[in-house]
């Protein structure tokens, strides 16, 4: 997070639960933080169960904050939520995010890659002052991880393109998607 330019205003969309640690970290810069907790709001089920087409588009639109053309989003934290979405649901969500983002905006996501299993419920990630993340979520039963490939994710990222991907030592893959300047 150290790279956020403190002289410029940033609009951040957090799709996880609010945490004081995250606010403290973002508070170092000039930020407006939009929080839409897709886990506790039932948003994941809503997206996964919606019929592809208008119903899914509507579901994604209704879950996200209203469009702010004068204050568009430039950084999005998805945490590990994409693992719990179908690719169609992910695509609808990314398209809806794209409608609210400015060109060059970034979406951060963590994908289970090396391990075949993942927790049944998404994690609750809290940053430390050192820029590391701790999963403070309650432990739940394990379920098969979809282990989405970069290609599948890229094809389901709507107007976003993969900007960077790196494998972490815990077996997760960290992705950064960038909103195409010409989207």
């Amino acid at each position: 997070m150290g790279g956020l330019d403190e002289t410029e205003r940033h609009v951040v969309l957090d799709l996880g639960a609010a945490s004081t640690a995250m606010l403290a970290l973002l508070g170092r810069a000039r930020c407006r933080v939009e929080i839409t907790d897709l886990v506790h709001s039932g948003g994941i089920d809503q997206l996964n169960k919606a019929e592809p087409g208008p119903e899914l588009v509507e579901a994604a639109e209704s879950l996200l904050p209203g469009r702010l053309p004068d204050d568009a989003v430039d950084l999005v934290f998805c945490w590990d939520l994409p693992n719990y979405l179908t690719l169609k649901a992910l695509s609808a969500l990314m398209n809806a995010i794209g409608q609210r983002a400015r060109p060059g905006a970034l979406v951060h996501a963590l994908i289970f890659y090396a391990e075949p299993d993942m927790q049944e419920h998404p994690g609750r990630f809290v940053p430390t002052a050192d820029g590391e993340l701790i999963d403070c979520g309650a432990k739940s039963a394990m379920t098969a991880a979809p282990r989405y490939s970069p290609e599948a994710l890229g094809n389901s990222a709507g107007p976003f393109v993969i900007d960077r991907a790196r494998l972490l030592s815990n077996g997760m893959q960290e992705f950064l998607f960038r909103l195409d300047e010409w989207a």
Binding site: L4, R9, R32, E34, H40, L106, P127
Partner: protein
């Protein structure tokens, strides 16, 4: 019998001794000791207020309030039983109950565990405990906060929704420079690039 701030211990003790059952019932409306809010005035659980609420002393809300709440120089606590559907302006705001509307504070907003908050928070310092439910935005851009709070103060009342107000404060062309590096967070245990 229910004077606030009376410090004569003997007097209070004798009042305790003479207290009748009907006296005790008042305790449920105004708790003797409030963990947050101290010696604040209290809107009890059975009270419903629909309209503008203004004052210059600390207040604890345990009832239902709709409209606007303005405590320019004081602290507001929304207790566990409190339900506030209003634009709120205060020096500091602590939420244990439910709010729907924008919260403006010149000093701090604290959202405690099990609280439910829907709306925008505009304050220099914000804390949200784990287990609290929050949906909305948090304005932490000092320029936007000053603008929003100034506008609210100037108007003499807390006007809900700072969304558009805040949006005009900053650069509309801000793109995080190299924010990709900024999000290079690792997952515990400390992860290293393979």
């Amino acid at each position: 019998m229910f004077e606030r701030g009376k410090k004569d211990g003997d007097t209070i003790e004798s009042q305790e001794a003479n207290r009748t059952k009907s006296d005790v019932s008042f305790e449920s409306v105004r708790p003797k000791a409030t963990p947050r809010g101290g010696d604040a005035a209290v809107i009890g659980r059975s009270i419903q207020i629909n309209g503008d609420l203004r004052g210059d002393e600390d207040l604890r809300i345990e009832g239902d309030v709709s409209g606007t709440v303005e405590l320019r120089n004081s602290a507001l606590t929304i207790g566990k039983e409190g339900k506030v559907k209003a634009g709120v302006y205060a020096k500091s705001i602590a939420v244990d109950g439910e709010t729907k509307g924008d919260l403006y504070a010149t000093e701090r907003v604290s959202v405690h565990v099990n609280a439910r908050v829907q709306g925008n928070i505009i304050a220099p310092r914000v804390s949200i405990e784990e287990g609290a439910h929050f949906k909305g935005s948090i304005e932490m851009d000092s320029a936007a906060i000053e603008k929003a709070l100034g506008k609210t103060t100037a108007s003499g009342a807390a006007k809900p929704v700072a969304r558009t107000t805040a949006s005009t404060a900053g650069s509309n062309k801000a793109v995080p420079k190299d924010a990709a590096r900024s999000t290079g967070a690792s997952v515990n245990p400390p992860a290293k690039t393979a």
